[in-house]
Symmetry: C2
C-alpha cells in the first residue's frame, strides 16, 4: 500500500526522554512526591486548561505574551503557565470545603511559549508546595520550609547545595529607614545584579539610573555587604533595630526562621541568611528562599519561593496568606544530566528479571514469572522464538540485572537457573529461592540515590 | 484596595477533586503504575502538545472534530487525544535507540472536546500499556495481557469483573467463509449492537440495511450465539476449522491465549471467550479485549485493547506489530465514586500524625516531628496559636489518625503523648516508641484496597 508518510518529530522546547532517562526522571519525581508527603502536604491535581480570563486575572507582563491561549467553540481557553494561579483559583472556589491551614503539593506540567533555546522548555514540570492560612499563618510555617528543601534535595542525593534566606520586611524596612520606600522596587532589582556585575557597578546604577544619593548608595552597599555565619549576620542586623517597625518585624521573623534549624534537621552549612536575596516578584511580603548548587552558581536558584499575604485576591475577598516554594523540575533534570550528576548505576531497565524459556513449553516459564511477580519483582518473559545469544543480548542491552533461564533440566527438577548479569554468577534454585535471591540483590542495587554528588 | 474580582470556576468536563478524593485517585494511579511495572513495562512521558499534522496523520472522523487545535506563532499545534498516536510517533522517531520487543506504559492526560455531559470528560487520564515488536511479535504477548488486566483490577480491589476476549481473524475468517469479506465491517458494527437490541433486530438490520441474505444472517446469528465456558466455545469453533485459513489461524491464536491462563494466575471465572466482541476500530487484527464490571454492564468496557499489525505506518515503513490495552481512568474513577465503590476507610488525610505543641517552646515539637518523619511517617506540625479544642478539631476534620501532644510534662520527661483518634486511646511514650506504635497502626489502616467490592 502506498502512503504519504509524515516525518515524525517532537516539538522543540518539549522534553521527551529515552526509556532509561525516563526511569531516572520517574525516580526523581517519586522522591519529591514522597518528601512533600512526609511533611504533611496533600497531593492536588488541577486541569491543565483553564478559562483564559481566570488565568490572566492578574494580567500583564511576560505571562500574557508567553501563554498558550486559544478558542474552542465559544470558550477563551489557556494552558496554565504555573501552579500558583490554579491553586489560588482552587482555594477560592473550594474555600468552604477546605480545612486551614491548607497544605498541598502539586507536581505537574506548565506551559510557556518562550523563545526556544538549549535548556529552556515550553512544557515543563513544576513541583510546588504551599501552606495557605485562613486570615493568618504562623511564622513557624516559614521556618519549616528550609527543612523541606533540605529533605527533598538530600533525599535526591544532592550534597553541595545551600538554602539562602532573606526577609522582604527587612529589605523594605531598611529602605524605609533611608526614606527610599518609593524606590525600593527599583533598588532591589538593581541590587539583585550584585553577583553578576559587582558592587561598583551596582553603586553606579543606583546613583545614576535609580537616582539614589551617594550617601544612601553607600548605606545600601554596606548593608548588602553584611556577611558571615547566620549568627554574625543576625547580630549585624540587630544594629539597625528600633529605627523602623517593619524592619524590626522582619528581623523577628528571620530570627524565628533560623532558630529551629537544628530541631528541623537542617545542617548549619546548608542554610545561609543572605541579604542580597529579594526574589523579583512584588508578590512576596516576608521570608524569601533561594537554593544554590555550590558548584554551579551559573544555574541560578534550583528551588525558590517565599511568603505572600494574599494568594487569591483576584478571586475572593478572603485574605489568604501563605508560603510556598517551587522546583522547576524539567530544567533542573536537564542541567543535572548535562553536568553528569545523574546516577547511572541505579536500575533503569523496564524489569528486574527476564525469564527466558529455553524449550517450547511456555508453562513453566510463565509460572516462574508469575511467582516472581507475586514476590514483587518486576518481571518480563522473553516471548520471541530467537536464539539464546539474541535473548541474552536483549537482557544485556536493557540492563536487566537478572536472567532466569528455564530449560529441560530445570523443568524436570522444578528449578530455575538465575544468572546475575553483573557478577556473571549463575545458580540453580527453586523459584522461591530465586525470588529471595533477586530481592536481596535489588535491595543493594536500588539503594543508590537519583543524583550522584561527590563520592 | 478596590479591585474587580473574577468569579473562580473550573471548566465543565474537567475533573478537579477535593483533597480526600484526590488522595484516593493518587492511590488508584499508583496501583496501576506498580502493576504495569511488575509486568516489565517501562514508564514513558511524551508531550501533551504535538504538531497537529503529526497527531492527525491518520486524519478524519470524530478525532478531527474533537481535537484541541490552535496556532502559536507559525506553529499548527494540538493537544494529544490519546496515548497511542504519540507512542507511534515516539517509536518511529526513536526506532534506532529502542530495544524490541519494546514494552512501555504511559499514564497521562488526553484531551477531547466532546459535548459536555455528566460523566464525560474533556480532559482525562488514560493508562496504557503496549508491547511493540520489530517486524514480528509472538502470540505469547497477547496471552499475557489478560494477566495484566486481572492483576491491575484485583490489586485495585475489584472482584466482580470479567475479561472478554475474541480474535478478529476468527471473525474475518468466518465472514470470509460466508463470502462476506467486503461487508465484514458493516456486519461487525451491526453485531456489536446485539447486547442492546437483541438478536431479532440484529437479524433485521443485517438483511435490510447491510443486505445480507437470510441464510447468511442465520449463520451469523448462530455463530455469535456460541456460548458456554471457554473449552465449550473453543470446541464449537473447532467445527468450523479447515474452511478458511484466516479463521484457522485465529483459532490457533485464541487457543494459545486461553492455554496459559492458570500459569498466569488468572482465575477461569474472570476470563471468557466472547465471540460478540469486535472492537469498532479497523486497527485491530488479532486478539481483542474488553473488561466488564459484572454488576454494572451499563458502564461498558473498563479496559479494552487488542493486537494490531502496524503501529506507526503513518510515520515509518518499518512494520511494527503490537498489542496494547487502555484504561480510561478518569471516567472509571468517576463511575466508581458514583456507585459507592471507593474505599473510604483508607487514610486520605494529608498526614498520618499531627504534632500539637502545647507550650510556647516549639523546639521539642519540631524535634519530635523530625524523628517521626525520619521514621517515614507523614507528619504535620500544627503551627497556629489556637485553643486545644480547635487543634483537635482540625485533626478530626482532616481525618489524621494520630495526634502527638507535647506539653510541659512531656518536654520535662522527654516523652510524647500519642492519641489514636479511632480508638480514643492515649499513651505516653518516647518519640521512638511513638514512631513504632504509629507505623504499626498505619500498616493495618493502609492495608485496604482502593476499591471496595463486596466484603
Amino acid at each position: 500500500m502506498f502512503m504519504d508518510r509524515i516525518k515524525p518529530r517532537t516539538l522543540s522546547g518539549f522534553m521527551e526522554l529515552l526509556p532509561g532517562r525516563q526511569a531516572q526522571m520517574e525516580r526523581f519525581l517519586q522522591v519529591l512526591r514522597e518528601t512533600y508527603a512526609l511533611y504533611g502536604f496533600t497531593p492536588l491535581d488541577t486541569p491543565i486548561i483553564e478559562d483564559a480570563q481566570i488565568l490572566l486575572a492578574k494580567g500583564g507582563g511576560e505571562t500574557e505574551k508567553q501563554i498558550y491561549r486559544f478558542q474552542k467553540g465559544d470558550s477563551d481557553l489557556a494552558l496554565r503557565f504555573d501552579l500558583t494561579v490554579p491553586l489560588a483559583k482552587y482555594v477560592a472556589l473550594h474555600y468552604g470545603e477546605l480545612t486551614f491551614p491548607f497544605r498541598r503539593f502539586q507536581i505537574g506540567k506548565v506551559y510557556r511559549g518562550e523563545r526556544a533555546q538549549r535548556g529552556r522548555f515550553r512544557e515543563f514540570y513544576q513541583a510546588d508546595i504551599d501552606v495557605i492560612g485562613d486570615g493568618k499563618l504562623d511564622i513557624l510555617n516559614e521556618a519549616e520550609i528550609p527543612a523541606i528543601i533540605y529533605g527533598a534535595f538530600s533525599r535526591l542525593g544532592l550534597r553541595r547545595f545551600q538554602i539562602r534566606v532573606n526577609n522582604r520586611k527587612i529589605l523594605n524596612g531598611f529602605y524605609g529607614m533611608l526614606g527610599l520606600t518609593e524606590q525600593s522596587g527599583a533598588v532591589m532589582r538593581t541590587v539583585d545584579k550584585l553577583d553578576k556585575i559587582g558592587p561598583e557597578k551596582v553603586r553606579t546604577l543606583l546613583t545614576e539610573d535609580v537616582g539614589i544619593s551617594p550617601d544612601n548608595a553607600d548605606e545600601i552597599l554596606k548593608f548588602i555587604a553584611i556577611d558571615g555565619d547566620n549568627s554574625a549576620v543576625l547580630a549585624a542586623l540587630e544594629q539597625y533595630r528600633g529605627k523602623n517597625e517593619l524592619f524590626d518585624q522582619g528581623l523577628e521573623e528571620l530570627t524565628a526562621v533560623t532558630r529551629h534549624l537544628a530541631a528541623f534537621g537542617v545542617p548549619e552549612d546548608h542554610f545561609k541568611v543572605d541579604l542580597t536575596i529579594a526574589r523579583g516578584l512584588d508578590y512576596y511580603t516576608g521570608t524569601v528562599y533561594e537554593t544554590a548548587m555550590l558548584d554551579h552558581p551559573e544555574i541560578g536558584s534550583i528551588c525558590s519561593g517565599g511568603r505572600y499575604d494574599n494568594l487569591a485576591e483576584y478571586y475572593t475577598d478572603k485574605p489568604l496568606p501563605g508560603v510556598g516554594i517551587s522546583i522547576g523540575v524539567t530544567r533542573l533534570f536537564y542541567v543535572l544530566e548535562e553536568q553528569g550528576y545523574l546516577n547511572d548505576s541505579v536500575i533503569t531497565a523496564p524489569a528486574d528479571a527476564l525469564v527466558l524459556p529455553m524449550t517450547d513449553d511456555m508453562g513453566p516459564a510463565i509460572a516462574a514469572a508469575t511467582a516472581l511477580r507475586n514476590a514483587g519483582i518486576r518481571t518480563q518473559i522473553y516471548t520471541e522464538p530467537k536464539k539464546f545469544k539474541a535473548k541474552m543480548s536483549y537482557c544485556a542491552k536493557l540492563g536487566i540485572p537478572y536472567a532466569v533461564l528455564i530449560g529441560e533440566d530445570e523443568i524436570a527438577a522444578g528449578t530455575v537457573a538465575v544468572k546475575n548479569f553483573e557478577t556473571g554468577v549463575q545458580v540453580t534454585v527453586t523459584p522461591q529461592e530465586a525470588a529471595g535471591l533477586i530481592l536481596e540483590g535489588l535491595n543493594v542495587k536500588n539503594s543508590g540515590p537519583v543524583i550522584r554528588d561527590g563520592e
